[in-house]
Symmetry: C2
Subunit: 341 residues, 2 copies
């Protein structure tokens, strides 16, 4: 019997998680929750995801828009084994009270504070620690990217100290309201930023300091990573490590991938759903070991890198498997995350 998954919130992350759940053979979407009858609600219906509203008072707007509603969040939670909370940041903490009352397992996203959940989750790094837990938080897109590559580095060479500068995208591509249009915004203006402690929610012993700015782009985040290593490493060993690792791809400027724009073009050419890139893209040319310090630059597709993590978290929490690698392979195969080269 398939694990029954409810998705509470059908926006940027929720709609992607729904499609990713639907692509697996061991779980199914029993319903998605929306608050307003937007075009995304119509897509949910078109994809045969039963559509629910957060509360009865929200229903009339959908009726007026001729969009069929299967019931309320309460009705949906009664049918589900687990709920993936993809509500806008900080709302998850409110929703948790409902999930606690119902006694249902829930996955929160990285916009929530660490304390909302029993543990923070990243499949490559702490899958086992999340087995059977009731509340899990899949860390944010940036933290996921850092955990993936720094986790690999740490297991193989040991991280003595990591320093990362994050250049964050402004709005998502489908958002026409926010900026910045022409400015670089220290965000936060204080150093260090919260991203280091967030990595520690998955990798508690890692010494990491981060600073962050927002720049006028919609496509991807970028990280410039500097890592003092415990053990000796060569540039080639790191390149090979990243090439072998799951959910990390290496890209090459010499092949024309000169910016985040060409990375997104790669995802389009690769036929990915929504032209997403679920993997972290590391520029091969940027990988360089100088003495005991490793340097590299990586790009993060903020809309989609956490999607496979949500799928693996579902498996860890509901007992579908206790094997992280098996779960990741299953997830990535279903999502067609083939490494082309």
């Amino acid at each position: 019997m398939k694990t029954k998954v409810a998705i509470n919130g059908y926006g940027t992350i929720g709609k992607r998680v729904a499609d990713a759940v639907a692509a697996q053979d061991d779980m199914e979407v029993v319903g998605v929750v929306k608050t307003r009858p937007t075009i995304e609600a119509k897509f949910a219906i078109a994809k045969n995801y039963p559509l629910y509203v957060t509360e009865v008072s929200k229903k009339q707007a959908f009726v007026d828009a001729d969009i069929p509603i299967a019931g309320t969040l309460d009705d949906l939670l009664a049918k589900a084994d687990i709920v993936v909370d993809c509500a806008p940041g900080k709302l998850g903490a409110e929703n948790k009270k409902i999930y606690e009352t119902k006694g249902i397992k829930a996955i929160f996203q990285g916009g929530e504070k660490e304390g909302v959940a029993d543990a923070s989750f990243n499949a490559q790094n702490n899958f086992r620690n999340c087995i059977g837990k009731q509340f899990i938080r899949v860390v944010s897109c940036n933290t996921t990217g850092l955990c993936r590559t720094l986790g690999e580095i740490n297991r193989t060479f040991g991280v003595k100290k990591a320093r990362v500068v994050l250049m964050r995208r402004g709005p998502d591509p489908g958002d026409s309201k926010k900026g910045p249009v022409n400015a670089i915004v220290p965000n936060p203006a204080t150093v260090p930023s919260h991203h280091g402690p967030d990595v520690n929610s998955v990798l508690p012993d890692m010494k990491i300091v981060t600073s962050a700015v927002i720049v006028p782009t919609t496509l991807m985040h970028m990280h410039s990573v500097m890592v003092e290593l415990e053990k000796e490493a060569t540039t080639n060993e790191v390149k090979e490590l990243f090439e072998r690792a799951p959910r990390i791809i290496t890209v090459r400027a010499k092949e024309g991938i000169e910016s985040t724009a060409q990375i997104m073009e790669y995802a389009r050419d690769a036929g990915r759903s929504r032209s997403d890139l679920n993997e972290i893209a590391v520029w091969e040319e940027s990988i360089n070991v100088l003495g005991n310090e490793l340097f590299y630059m990586q790009a993060i597709h903020q809309e989609s890198d956490v999607v496979p993590e949500n799928i693996d978290a579902i498996r860890a929490m509901t007992g579908l498997t206790e094997d992280a690698v098996r779960s990741m392979i299953k997830t990535d195969t279903a999502l067609k995350l083939k490494k082309w080269w």
Copy 2:
């Protein structure tokens, strides 16, 4: 008698250097050189800068545009004590052959390679080393910014190792041809970038590693700086150091300066020529000492931070003074670089 200064190239840097020279009481603009009769040529005439062409064949286009020409570069060099070469990057190396033939002193800009000159110049750091030299290169806007703040840090606390991520603007504000429009571009895709070695052309003993990207903005560059210190320092000591230092200002997000956009607005409100900011702006909130490591973020006005450096370089090379501080105060007073707070 005033030092007679020729400006070869009247673009982004050249027109600013010309105005800065004209603002001093110990030097004068004897002429500026342009290759094409653009609107900038008309401004030069309006400002009473005698206008010269690079060679006779270029003259007719100016005659056709009704713009009076005083002669050729050769004619101008015969009248000048020193030439500031503000030709587009790499052309300076070609022009050097002409200057060598004429035996005239020349200042090159940071777009030229280090080897073009007898020394690289930054007023705060190596004024004395450039006294009387024939060929000097004023380092680039980014390198100038790094030399200013890291130089101060190094003299007071000692720099054990500096790590810097540079987020560079795409085109200048007056350029409608170049990008990126919506992408982050590792530039170079290799790490380290050339900026570290360029800092070493002024501060040869500093251990510094840099990586760089280009982001879609026109206003300013931004640096996230991480410095392991030799001596103990407190956050407040560093703040005070930057507040006291010439050509560095501290800005505060809590006062509304939340991005490079508001820094430029500050320069407009401060009544600066062309709304330029010749100083390096450091976010006060970003200054933080954790253990033996200092963090800060700074913004660089790429069009103008090197302008006062060119003025000081003229003084060092032509013997107007051997005192760096005296020259800098004179320059900054004439340019009205008042620290408002």
